[in-house]
Symmetry: C2
Subunit: 308 residues, 2 copies
């Protein structure tokens, strides 16, 4: 069974760890968000791709919740001491990866190929595909101004309420190599419990990816990132409240209208009526550990009618 998963960073990565626990990793293709990517200190950083890579290869720092285990901060401490840009937290090991990626991109290697080389070197078995090789970037519109995603999320601590989300570059963005092929080859398409606006939204802003989901011939199941109407972490609940008008399963499902056949929700949000076209499946969605992530992945596959 081939599974394709649309995913953002940390939350998506945890779900993916469950997916590769119930499906042969070699049959899992991940379409990762790249609209959070940022150039900082001349380094091209792809936070969502890297969160996925680190989590699935066991390199992630589980306690901190992002970045690599055993990380040190000597380079950034020096940058800070020298008055350089240090607001975006880059660890030394993380910088090593960014140096390699940035050098490849500088030599004309597309992000997809750079990602393939890096994930291969670290032994990732699943296929990690950037949603696009084109410059697609999320901008956040607030009453304080419109900010690049990481400026709003990291530098401003996502405290500004969001009036709108823009995906700069989306009209021109083509799917990355292998993305449409992975969606076409999938027996099931999953949407990870990532933020619908800033993690999944940019992937769906690539017109051909959205069209592929609209025209799917296999089931597509999304997993809600909310539990009891609240985000486990991050601003998803506040964004849904403000941009979709609420935080019920129906509000989550509205982000994926026409794209999904089922929404996996937490028991705390059940029951939910999502209309004629979308079933709701309630289960425990909090991924307290790998086993819980596996159960959630299995529930999502089950909801697709494709039990693992």
């Amino acid at each position: 069974m081939n599974v394709a998963v649309l995913s953002g960073g940390v939350g998506g990565a945890r779900f993916l760890r469950g997916v590769i626990g119930v499906v042969d990793p070699g049959n899992v293709s991940i379409v990762g968000n790249v609209a959070d990517d940022i150039e900082v200190l001349g380094l091209r950083v792809s936070p969502d791709l890297d969160s996925i890579l680190y989590t699935l290869t066991g390199l992630a720092d589980e306690e901190r919740g992002w970045g690599r285990a055993g990380e040190t901060w000597q380079a950034l401490d020096t940058v800070d001491q020298l008055g350089g840009e240090s607001w975006f937290r880059l660890g030394d090991r993380d910088i090593g990866l960014h140096l390699v990626r940035t050098e490849l991109l500088r030599h004309g290697v597309p992000l997809s190929e750079a990602t393939e080389r890096i994930t291969h070197a670290l032994g990732l078995e699943a296929q990690l595909l950037p949603a696009t090789d084109d410059p697609l970037r999320t901008f956040i519109e607030t009453s304080e101004g419109t900010f690049p995603f990481q400026t709003w999320f990291v530098a401003r601590g996502h405290r500004d309420e969001v009036d709108a989300v823009h995906y700069a570059g989306s009209p021109e963005a083509a799917p990355g190599p292998g993305v449409l092929e992975a969606l076409a080859a999938a027996d099931v398409i999953l949407i990870a419990p990532s933020n619908p606006y800033v993690s999944i939204g940019p992937i769906l802003a690539v017109a051909e990816i959205r069209a592929a989901l609209e025209q799917r011939t296999v089931p597509c199941v999304a997993v809600s990132p909310l539990i009891g109407g609240r985000a486990v972490k991050g601003p998803a609940d506040r964004m849904l409240q403000r941009l979709a008008g609420g935080t019920t399963p129906a509000h989550v499902a509205s982000c994926y209208a026409g794209l999904i056949d089922a929404l996996v929700i937490d028991e705390a949000d059940a029951p939910a009526d999502l209309g004629a076209d979308v079933r709701s499946v309630a289960t425990r969605t909090l991924m307290t550990d790998v086993e819980a992530a596996r159960r959630l992945a299995a529930a999502a596959l089950d909801a697709a009618g494709a039990p693992a």
Copy 2:
């Protein structure tokens, strides 16, 4: 008393630590070699400037002899793991500095100004001036081919005998801001015990710097890098043997013909007759510790008729 010192990296840096021990650091201007600079992993590395900076600010690793104390290697280990370019040893703290410098250069800040900002941030009191802001690079001609300096020195472990040394870009290279002013304001000009071919040579390959030394109105004293005809470290003796025909004080002095009034040599190389124009002054030149470096600096100033 104002002192200007032409200097390469590690050996020069140790001598400079002696100089600032006997002269007010605020009155010391260092003209540093930049022809060893290299772009590696997209980072602009200035090994000689950084050796001087680290040594004079107490940040150098004295035991290893290069780089920073308390250094770690996590970024480069990751680069290596990912198949990136890892032959040039960059520590994490060192990378922090290179990230800042590279970012400044990318934004159009000249190397001299980037150096000023970085040295100021680290509290360097002496003035550290790149010999030039222009792209001046040392190439080493050997029977195995002509190599960029760091390729020959680091990657090939300077094992190939040197047939000639070229300074690419020297015809167009102008002195860096402040260099001619520092030489004009100096009461004494010193040439550090650095390699005459690959450390001091590129500085003197900047025509206006050479002219300033030729037309000097104050004493200029060089310190020989050889002890008993042998280099303390590095390939200076082999290069002198092959390119100047020997390793006596006269051979060292021949590298600075018309530019110096005295050569400080080691007692092991005394006595030496350097002709009518250049006096030789013998002392112990091995810089075993800071005090030995201070004594050597004092001897050099004394040889210039300007006792500290």
